[in-house]
Point group: C2
Chain length 450, copies 2
């Protein structure tokens, strides 16, 4: 059976109606897949529904938000299509990409691929679960506070969150315009890198500097948080194990104070920077509060009360924190953090929707604020108190444009879980080499170390 046929069969078998908000007509998908050419030919693409796909309404999980189908593909979608990927459909998300749990949607919370009573993670919830289950092979997510990383960990996937601006946000509904990144989910590193290399670059994207590194040193210097806050012992142990393995394989680990990173994370929601969310969709939310998820509507409408001056001052405060935090990791090639401090059940989230969501973002919120790139990879499992097995993982964070360095270290740390993909899912692609080269970085001046 064809990949497309398998996927439509898998959609039936999976019984996960909450994953896709729109599935394109089978005939159209089959026709496009049959004529696809390029490195991603044969792969099915799921697109988070805050990213334009021609012919599909961009609802951001708020049905009344879209006036009608999008006229054109977002640049990220168009570039993946040009590289051979075929769009299967558009996926559920935390409404307006406001959340890290995948449950803030009128279409239902997206359930974890392996443990349906647990949350999928979000906001790119449907994108992640569609790839984990093999309904799609690659998915587009977006990531402002961790939405391309948290669900990658929960679903045992690779999530690449590139440097801000190197993948175009044209055609993407903003969450926080200043800190939105378009991301890729895949079941393996090489497929993720191939897709990111195809998606990034092109008109309006941030130029690569002249001294981009294409790999980590043979023996990288790796910063890790001095103390892991807000984590249960089993989760701390899993992180420590992953770091110990990296160290044993040849890396120098440096413990760094982490308070500045945590303080920046607080600015995003508890400070004035949240004004960005009102700037993005506040006019709609204020006028249609009844159409919104209550948690999301509350966050966005309250964000309208922030003053411009406070926003500007918090931006300055952020810059100070960033400078100081970057000083702490000076001389380090990457910073490795747990992707999330743990994995909540749907019940635990329902009991404290905002607090649990904030907790989930402990190790992700600061990354875009600090202009870091990141690669989230699975590194093992943790047995929960209820006896179920959680996927755990780390995010390897690099400075802006050090995407290939972060990916290199992530590759050394990744322990991919047994697949739960349904039959027909595409196998891993070959290693495409450092993806920034595919996305417009110049090779002439690149520093290949080690």
């Amino acid at each position: 059976m064809s990949r497309v046929g398998d996927a439509f069969a898998a959609l039936e078998v999976a019984q996960r109606p909450e994953v896709f908000l729109f599935v394109r007509d089978r005939e159209v998908v089959e026709a496009e897949a049959a004529s696809a050419q390029g490195p991603l030919a044969g792969l099915l693409l799921a697109v988070k529904n805050n990213v334009d796909v021609a012919g599909t309404p961009t609802t951001a999980a708020c049905p009344t938000f879209a006036d009608g189908p999008a006229d054109a593909d977002a640049q990220a979608v168009a570039r993946l299509r040009a590289a051979g990927a075929t769009v299967l459909g558009s996926t559920n998300l935390d409404q307006f990409a406001t959340g890290l749990v995948g449950q803030r949607s009128p279409h239902g919370g997206v359930r974890d691929a392996r443990r349906p009573s647990y949350v999928s993670g979000g906001s790119s919830s449907g994108s992640a679960v569609s790839v984990a289950l093999g309904l799609a092979d690659v998915a587009i997510g977006t990531d402002t506070a961790g939405s391309g990383r948290v669900p990658a960990m929960f679903q045992g996937l690779v999530g690449i969150k590139p440097t801000l601006g190197v993948a175009a946000v044209e055609g993407v509904l903003p969450a926080c315009r200043s800190w939105d990144a378009v991301t890729i989910f895949a079941r393996d590193l090489d497929t993720a890198a191939t897709a990111m290399g195809a998606m990034a670059g092109g008109p309006g994207t941030r130029a690569w500097p002249s001294d981009v590194r294409l790999a980590a040193p043979t023996r990288p210097r790796v910063a890790v948080p001095e103390t892991l806050v807000r984590m249960e012992p089993a989760w701390v142990a899993a992180f420590d194990d992953a770091i110990a393995r990296l160290e044993a394989g040849g890396a120098d680990v440096v413990k760094v104070p982490f308070q500045d990173f945590l303080d920046a994370a607080l600015l995003l929601y508890d400070g004035a920077l949240v004004a960005e969310r009102h700037g993005a969709v506040g006019d709609f939310v204020d006028a249609h509060l009844d159409d919104c998820d209550p948690t999301v509507g509350g966050i966005v409408s309250r964000a309208g009360e922030v003053s411009g001056s406070a926003y500007v001052r918090d931006t300055a405060r952020l810059e100070e924190l960033r400078a100081r935090a970057m000083g702490l990791v000076e001389g380090c090639d990457v910073l490795v953090v747990p992707t999330a401090p743990g994995h909540p059940t749907q019940a635990a989230l329902a009991a404290a929707p905002v607090a649990v969501n904030s907790w989930v973002g402990t190790y992700t919120n600061f990354a875009n604020l600090f202009d870091l790139c990141g690669v989230a990879v699975p590194t093992g499992t943790v047995v929960e108190e209820d006896g179920s097995v959680a996927q755990t993982g780390v995010t390897v964070l690099g400075r802006a444009f050090e995407d290939a360095v972060a990916l290199d270290v992530a590759r050394r740390m990744a322990v991919l879980p047994p697949s739960v993909a349904l039959p027909g899912a595409a196998p891993a692609l070959p290693d495409p080499g450092p993806w920034p080269l595919l996305a417009g970085a110049e090779a002439t001046r690149l520093l290949v170390v080690g």
Copy 2:
């Protein structure tokens, strides 16, 4: 007599007490000048008093704003000193760098070097006049809305406003953090370029991309506004003459619609972006309104009423305008505009302080908002209705990092006026070559065209 001796004599002769807010001790200046080494050795530097000079209070022309002398030099000052420049003193400005006229200061409006009843231009008023009069040889200005360009034109100087971020703003009091540039004034292009090459670069500065151009094509493609608005015929004719000379010397001139540029200019003061000014100094201004210039205090305190959401939306609107405007100049190497539409008298300004100031910024306000670099050069004179002779000039604007391209075209257009510098002013330095090379751009991948 030594350069320093000449300068102190000129300070006496000039009778312009409003130009310098602080002059350093003669003995200290002499000792530093005697031991100075580097390309700028022998040159005296004036520093706008919103930029830290160790030992001098940074008042921004609001005496109660400074708690005491600055502990250390701003990075820009330190780098110029390291290249041999000696700081003579710190100069008057439109308070908090809010203005383009040079008259919004409790220390008195700075008078034009040649025509004392005319305004100096601002906000870098004292810096420009100090160089025009030969009290200093190079001056640091800052430029958010045109403060490094307008006074250059009025005073017959070269003003280099580099790409945002390539010269460090560390130690500079923000006006609008997002759009502040540190600039250089000099009496000739080569001295200005040498100083800018020394000042730019270093810690925290924006990295040069890998494909920086070091010169304009032999026959550049030059965009100019389709219609010159808000200008008297004599001023339009002077601009047209300058463009005709450039064309005759070998350039293709393309007329472009200019409304998008003008609309962006309005956003800076009439839209929500003005919140940046409250973010910078609003806490002080709100608490010390009586200590402030009434015009400046009013602008800053009203800027505190803007909402964060409106700020974010205007930022998005700006980005749309920028994309469209950049589309209009696609294929052009530079955009050349009048630096200012005319040169007001102090009396005309006093009659309409805000309207005249806005008018002066017609052709400068959009540049930093659009992430353009610019070089302001004199191109000739205009005889005013009162029979006096005004300096006129153009600003050659380039895309971010195209600083050397803009300078190259500016060099072809510059017509330096007869000097009004007092005796002892340093002569022009030799051509240092493209200054981005001095400021950290890499030569290996640079495109030298023509």
